[in-house]
Symmetry: C2
Subunit: 131 residues, 2 copies
């Protein structure tokens, strides 16, 4: 058997109805990353990178983590943001809807969560070990 810890988790999240001003604000997005890092007990291994695009001023942010990575892309013209969080070990989910409502003003949050098995398919390895 592969231990449960062998499987990573990825959250692919879209936040809609956000306040456009916050989506174009580096300080608001820094606060988003700071909150996620603190509340999810993540560990950056390098400073976050940020890039602001020309008007309407969408922002991309990425940070490398001991746990894998966190990214955000904002679309002020659509009031939306796309977030990825990949953790190579399992962990509890975040309160995405509540916290993105508070941090970005989101009124509709779509969360997709799935396993990422980087040790190999469980069936294949498990079968080999059972022989």
């Amino acid at each position: 058997m592969i231990p449960a810890s062998a499987a990573g988790r990825e959250w692919v999240v879209e936040a809609f109805g956000c306040e456009p001003g916050r989506l174009a604000s580096l300080s608001a997005l820094h606060a988003l990353f700071d909150a996620m890092i603190a509340e999810l007990a993540l560990h950056p291994v390098a400073p976050a990178q940020w890039h602001r695009f020309p008007e309407p001023g969408g922002i991309t942010g990425m940070v490398m983590l001991a746990e894998s990575h966190l990214t955000v892309h904002t679309f002020p013209e659509h009031g939306s943001a796309c977030i990825n969080l990949f953790c190579c070990t399992p962990r509890a989910s975040w309160a995405w809807r509540e916290r993105l409502g508070e941090l970005l003003g989101a009124d509709d949050v779509v969360v997709r969560e799935f396993a990422r098995d980087y040790v190999g398919p469980v069936v294949r390895v498990g079968a080999g070990e059972a022989r």
Copy 2:
């Protein structure tokens, strides 16, 4: 109707059976990013960031793109790599299995591809426009 171009695409890819030496090699992973950027016509907006973890020497790489982002995490101890490619506009898929076989020595590649709609649910916006 929301134009088809409003939906982004994300590829979440696991490569297994890779050569561990390539997974711990910055130059091999630079070559992976270079190939993907050239062959998929991606446009970095900043230099890629790289981080090497202690032995067994897994590497994380991330690059911000005009199209969104590309990331890789390698696990030499498992012969595996996890890749994300997010493009905020549609594009043809890459030959993941063939190219990761050539570039990393992968013998088993699992590709998940899905839409990311950052304009908002099509039904909701479409219904509003039809009134």
